[in-house]
Amino acid sequence: MIKVNITEKDSATILEIYGEVDLYSSPEVRKVLLQLVNDETAVIIVNLNNVTYIDSSGVATLVEGLQEMGKYSGKLKLTNLRDAVRHVFELSSLDKVFEIHNTLEDAMRS
């Protein structure tokens, strides 16, 4: 099962996802992410350290969040992508669209 935790740190909201993000679980991630977007959260950092798999529905969820946040000049950042997850972003050329950081600290500082 997917698990999504939300924590606040300094001025950022950290969305930490645990598990595999696929057609089955991405609606849960979407629900949580879009709630934060509806609240016009200024900075969301999605920590993917514990995501072992992501498919196009998971990527699409993050794209939707990114685009919706753009409407109010919010920032969506990704961090701690495992190789298998990064590969999916690279395949879809979305690694260039997202702000991706190696560590949570880097994402917080940027």
Binding site: D22, L23, Y24, D55, V88, L91, L94
Partner: protein, 137 residues
Amino acid sequence: MDAIEIKISSNPKYLKILRSTVYHLARVCGFSNKEGNALTVAVSEAAANIIKHAYKNEKDKPIFMSCRLLDDRLEIVLRDSGIKTDVEKIKSRELEDVKPGGLGVHIIKSTMDVVIYDNSSKDGNQLTMAKYLPGKK
């Protein structure tokens, strides 16, 4: 003949069973961890497309996966009995067009060496995908 056949219901929660099978089979066939992951994503995307498009998210329809290890390639065939896909309309979206959705076909075609959509059978669709074994391309 080296072959594995699996049938799952079209419930997305079973996609991980296909993924697990494909990943381990790819590794047994000599593909690297990275190649195994890529094959896994491609097959899972194809199965997800069956659920979304052929079965319109109905969860109790059959998806058949058969995998064959041939001399030069690993061949994976997915079959369904859902709505026939218009093969002419299957295409990858433009990557410059950043939008949610439409990535699955691009991922499949980027990963696999052979991708053949066939809806000529009486019922449903068949997708044949193959990846040449390391050193066999």
